[in-house]
Symmetry: D2
Subunit: 153 residues, 4 copies
Amino acid sequence: MPKSAFSEPVLTVAEIEKLLDEVFPQLHHGGRTIMVEQVAPMTARLRLIAHERHLRPGGTVSGPAMFTLADVGIWVAIFSHMGQEALAAVTTNLNINFLRKPPHGDVIVECRLLKLGKRLAVGEATLFADGADAPVAHAVGTYSIPAAKHKVS
Amino acid sequence: MPKSAFSEPVLTVAEIEKLLDEVFPQLHHGGRTIMVEQVAPMTARLRLIAHERHLRPGGTVSGPAMFTLADVGIWVAIFSHMGQEALAAVTTNLNINFLRKPPHGDVIVECRLLKLGKRLAVGEATLFADGADAPVAHAVGTYSIPAAKHKVS
Amino acid sequence: MPKSAFSEPVLTVAEIEKLLDEVFPQLHHGGRTIMVEQVAPMTARLRLIAHERHLRPGGTVSGPAMFTLADVGIWVAIFSHMGQEALAAVTTNLNINFLRKPPHGDVIVECRLLKLGKRLAVGEATLFADGADAPVAHAVGTYSIPAAKHKVS
Amino acid sequence: MPKSAFSEPVLTVAEIEKLLDEVFPQLHHGGRTIMVEQVAPMTARLRLIAHERHLRPGGTVSGPAMFTLADVGIWVAIFSHMGQEALAAVTTNLNINFLRKPPHGDVIVECRLLKLGKRLAVGEATLFADGADAPVAHAVGTYSIPAAKHKVS
């Protein structure tokens, strides 16, 4: 990505977590299970702490739990670079490939931003079992960026 | 679709609901909220009964709840036509477009099968607010059909 | 779809063909092979006339030719309903599933509009061999609608 | 990816180019415009040499030309790691996001393999204008791997 106003994060992990608590408390309904681990230029890494409510028979993480992790991960990557105005971004498209039998334990998502435009932002998400090299899922998502008047705060 | 062994449902709604209870009880964790309403040649219709755990702030149905409804709906359409052997089908790809602000009440999914092959099945899902004409979301999913030895029962 | 300014076509097939000739002459480079057959409320149907340059070894229609047909079909459906201002719409996402061995002869695409918004339009395309019931491919595409000042004429 | 039989290329660039000439001569119909530049563990890089037949008005590379480059790139990455048996792999799904106005000159595609399974292989493709950092398009594709009896040679 070329240097631009959006090429580096403008929020810290602590600021992101605080915003998530304020604007999206239901993410943590039933216990805090999604944690932001790192933001860096054009990337973000989050962790899903395996919890009974995310599991399928056999103890593996469910498809909807992986969908949610990818979707939240890309959204966090977007607003951490565009600023809290972009908290109001909404998912318009998400394409997910399930690649391998999902893990029994935590899932890590590594997100990479592909485009941060005035109207649309696009990012990809690769999901791994904690400590493994082979991805369990991969997603690409598009988000509509609301006009400036839609500011969250 | 041409006439084939798979061009009509081989399970009734009651048989499908019974199988779901047996093989996927966690679908109903927290209360029965997804109901199969109809299966017909190459189609299936399901209903998501709006429940507090599916809602976002403002009371609209969440993205992950719509993802789950589309995914379950296409899977039900597949195994209701291919037989209970296909209960073991697993999602390999799902592409979802969120089209409009989701409803506060029930969501209906109309599923249409596009391909029922030996190795892969593909279907699409259109989601509506109950009673409305304009879709709130649309998904296309691909499912890997396990070899015959993977029979569920 | 609810009745709205965009729920019916505002251009005839003849007007659409004339616009295509004016703004997209390279579509017909090497011979006229894509023809608009019908527009109707929220739908459009086009035909790809099989031509040597679209074929793969064995004489079947190529993947890129089917991609082009789906993409052009949804775009035609959009601007035939939104008016020629929407000729400037650009594809932002296209997801295509190849379902069966493609035909040796003509391919028909049936397009259905899912959303006609101020900023984004979404449609789906089902491709058939001429005269067959089982689809050979299925696509869903998203298009960015430029602001009004981007008028084509 | 974990070490496996498929974690490194088993064909050189020269061997790949020779196979492409033999099994897919129509790729070069009208002049050689797609060249394999490099294969490395789990990746491949190809170049589309800008040619009049790939261009849209204004001189930018067309959507179908970028679709073809992404599709061929992922397919090359797959069979260069799985061996020439996998030349018979066929695209079952391709999801492409167009991110920026495409370039006037050459386009580079960097492909990364996400899964090389017995039945399905999945890869992603990021497209750049030659010399630029910001991607112009991004695609993810799934390929069906034929059973061993379908050997090409």
